[in-house]
C-alpha cells in the first residue's frame, strides 16, 4: 500500500508516493512514521492545514487506514 503525496510534500519526500510502514494502521501513525523516515516532511505534516484523504474524502487523523483503497496526504491548496 502506498500513500500519495501532493504539492510541497512531493519535493520534501523526493517522491510522489511512499510505502506505508509496518504496523501503520491510522493516520496519526502514518504521520509519525513519515516524519521519522523523512524528517524534511515533519514540519508540513504537523501543520493544521495538512489533511489526510481516504478514498478522496477528508478523514480524521485518528481514522483507521484498513479499509481505504486510496490514501493521500495533501498540504494547503494554493488554488488556481
Amino acid at each position: 500500500m502506498q500513500v500519495h503525496l501532493y504539492g510541497i510534500l512531493t519535493d520534501l519526500a523526493g517522491a510522489r508516493s511512499l510505502a506505508l510502514g509496518p504496523d501503520v494502521t491510522t493516520g496519526d501513525a502514518l504521520r509519525d512514521y513519515l516524519s521519522r523516515q523523512h524528517p524534511p516532511m515533519a514540519e508540513v505534516l504537523a501543520r493544521p492545514s495538512t489533511r489526510l484523504l481516504l478514498d478522496h474524502e477528508t478523514a480524521d487523523w485518528q481514522a483507521s487506514l484498513a479499509s481505504a483503497s486510496d490514501i493521500a496526504i495533501i498540504p494547503m491548496v494554493s488554488g488556481g
Binding site: Y6, G7, T10, I74, P75, V77, G79, G80
Partner: protein, 154 residues
C-alpha cells in the same frame, strides 16, 4: 453537480481564441458573454517567474471545480459556462485559466465569472509552484484571495 458548465483540466497549452469562439457559438441565444483569461505572469522583473507547475489530483481536483460551478449555476441564471484550467507545467505568458459565462443579461455574466475566478483562486485542489532561474517555491493563497472570496459570502 454542475449541469451547464463544461469543465476541462488541460495537460497541454490551449488556444484561448478557439475556446472563446467555440463558447460563443455554443451560446447563440445569450445576450451577454463574459470571457476571462488568466495567464502566467513573471511577477518580479529582477527574478522573474519562468513557469508554474500545477500539481493536481485528477478526480478530486475536477470535483472541487464542479462544486464551485454548481454554486455559480444556483446563484445566477446562466445559459452556459465553461472552465478550462491548465495543470502541469505552464510557461510564463501562457494561459492558465479560461472562464466564460453566458447569460441573458450582462450583470449576471459579469458576476458569475467574477465569482468563479474568486473561488478557483482559493478553493480548487491545486498546488502551485513558481519556477525561477535558481529557485522554486510552492505558494499558498494570498490574503487578498481569501478576502476576494469573502465578498460573496454575505
Amino acid at each position: 453537480m454542475a449541469q451547464i458548465t463544461d469543465i476541462h483540466l488541460a495537460e497541454d497549452a490551449f488556444d484561448v481564441d478557439a475556446a472563446a469562439t467555440a463558447f460563443r457559438q455554443a451560446a447563440p441565444t445569450a445576450g451577454a458573454i463574459v470571457n476571462f483569461v488568466g495567464q502566467v505572469s513573471p511577477e518580479q522583473q529582477d527574478d522573474p517567474v519562468q513557469a508554474l507547475f500545477l500539481d493536481h489530483m485528477p478526480q478530486a481536483t475536477r470535483a472541487s471545480i464542479e462544486k464551485i460551478a454548481a454554486a455559480a449555476e444556483a446563484r445566477w441564471p446562466l445559459e452556459k459556462s465553461t472552465i478550462i484550467h491548465r495543470v502541469g507545467r505552464v510557461e510564463t505568458g501562457q494561459p492558465i485559466v479560461f472562464v466564460a459565462c453566458a447569460a441573458r443579461h450582462r450583470r449576471d455574466a459579469f458576476e458569475a465569472a467574477d465569482y468563479l475566478m474568486d473561488y478557483l483562486k482559493s478553493d480548487v485542489l491545486l498546488w502551485k509552484k513558481e519556477i525561477r532561474a535558481n529557485s522554486t517555491d510552492w505558494i499558498e493563497p494570498r490574503p487578498q484571495d481569501m478576502t476576494d472570496k469573502q465578498r460573496w459570502e454575505d
